[in-house]
């Protein structure tokens, strides 16, 4: 018994190209698929078109396979590289303390006292001078080396981008070149983020002209503080209060001054809750 759509197919002839391909790819629902199969049984033209499509797909896939056999390098090297980079991350994680409290059980009052004591220690330590090892390196981007560089990007792209899909980590070869350019080839790499002067979320390019080694710790204006500014600028762009070019220029002209302007504060704004202070304390090297 013919369904109405099948009768329509027979009467008016021919399946659309979209549906032929959907049929070939198994992307049609059962009823529709059966209707079209029935039509192919009676219509040589559509059946030929379906076979043409299938042959085209076969040719294209063979062609791609031949090309990739000769173009794609073996996996051994890249797999070893990925393992090494993952191992570094695993070790980094293992080196960090696992929990906020080192003791399994603390009463609420003891925990409160503990928090207050550590907060005082933290506030004192936060004012300590930078260590000798890190003090010898530049903490601000050098304009000649890192003037900032951006690619064309729309507000829609900025506001629709998912932070997990944005490249936050520069390629290893590029990172190495940035360290060398800043005369820091032997610097402890784990203490620095090779950061984008103009953040990729706002169209910052992944080039030497937009990257510099920014310290995580031991300076007031560190990578974590800059992250706050980047989030603020993106929010302002997405809420229509700031255009993208101004946000890019604010970052490239001097992000510290921009921070002070946008946060209306001469010093980085800290989260002053006890838990945040405690957490920050444990993040100190």
């Amino acid at each position: 018994m013919f369904t109405s759509s099948r009768r329509r197919l027979e009467r008016h002839n021919h399946v659309s190209d979209d549906d032929v391909l959907r049929f070939v790819d198994g992307e049609l629902e059962g009823g529709r698929s059966a209707d079209i199969r029935g039509h192919f049984e009676t219509c040589w033209k559509c059946r030929t078109r379906m076979l043409d499509f299938e042959n085209t797909i076969v040719h294209f896939v063979h062609f791609q396979q031949k090309l990739s056999e000769r173009t794609i390098p073996p996996i051994t090297g890249p797999l070893a590289q990925l393992k090494a980079r993952l191992e570094a991350r695993v070790q980094e994680r293992r080196a960090k303390p696992r929990g906020v409290f080192p003791f399994p059980v603390l009463s609420l009052s003891a925990a409160a006292v503990f928090v207050v004591v550590l907060a005082v220690i933290f506030l004192q330590l936060s004012n300590r001078p930078a260590s000798r090892a890190l003090r010898s390196y530049a903490f601000e981007p050098v304009p000649v080396l890192t003037p900032g560089q951006a690619v064309s990007i729309s507000r829609q792209q900025v506001c629709s981008s998912d932070s997990t899909t944005t490249p936050r980590v520069a390629a290893p070869a590029l990172r190495k070149r940035v360290f060398e350019a800043y005369g820091m080839a032997n610097a402890p790499e784990q203490d620095f983020e090779v950061d984008f002067l103009i953040t990729p979320e706002l169209g910052g390019a992944e080039t030497m002209r937009n990257l510099w080694p920014e310290p995580y710790y031991n300076t007031v204006w560190n990578a974590h503080v800059k992250d706050q500014l980047e989030v603020r600028l993106r929010d302002l762009v997405c809420s229509g209060q700031l255009d993208i070019r101004t946000a890019q220029r604010d970052l490239s002209d001097g992000w510290v001054a921009a921070y002070q302007r946008y946060f209306k504060s001469q010093a980085p704004v800290r989260d002053q809750t006890p838990v945040a202070l405690l957490f920050a304390f444990f993040k100190q090297p």
């Binding site: 993952l86 191992e87 994680r93």
Partner: protein, 190 residues
Amino acid sequence: MSDVPDSVALDQFVAVRLEETRSETLDHIGNEVTALFSEFRGRILRYLICLGLSVQDSEEVVQEVFLLLYQHLRENRARTNLRGWLFRVAHNLGLKKRMGTLRTNGQDSEYFLLATDAAPSPEEQVLMKQQQKRLSAVLGALPEQDRSCLYLRAEGLRYREIAEVLSISLGSVAQSLARAVKRLNHVYQQ
């Protein structure tokens, strides 16, 4: 259409790959990521090359994709349709990389793959070059969306996965693919 959920299908081949790639120095998620890398690296690399990136740039993007995957899984984020996630992240990073290359070099490296291949025998070389030339022309004339749909489908993605990767509707995927296949069909008909 396959009734097997992506997560189940993924778990099956991850289990197989895990035996081949397991490392004592990695944690569980690290081993899972390397297993997924073994399974998907070739497909993602090929897609990125087809997007117009050089092999070297594509390798770098693939590394970034899997480092982001490690971060993604470590943070206990969604595991549904990881294949779609991998291609979506690769697509976005690939476009950014290509944009950067365009700015740096001032030229489009698209169709790098088609232009640099060398066939081993003279006959094959001639045949391949003729076909390359025709294909390059047709692929180059396709709208970017149609081309991306074609390459993603060639890597085994279902229509709904392609729609997610490119952030377009299911109907647009079907139309793009039909257009692309029809134009390629003309090449093979000649």
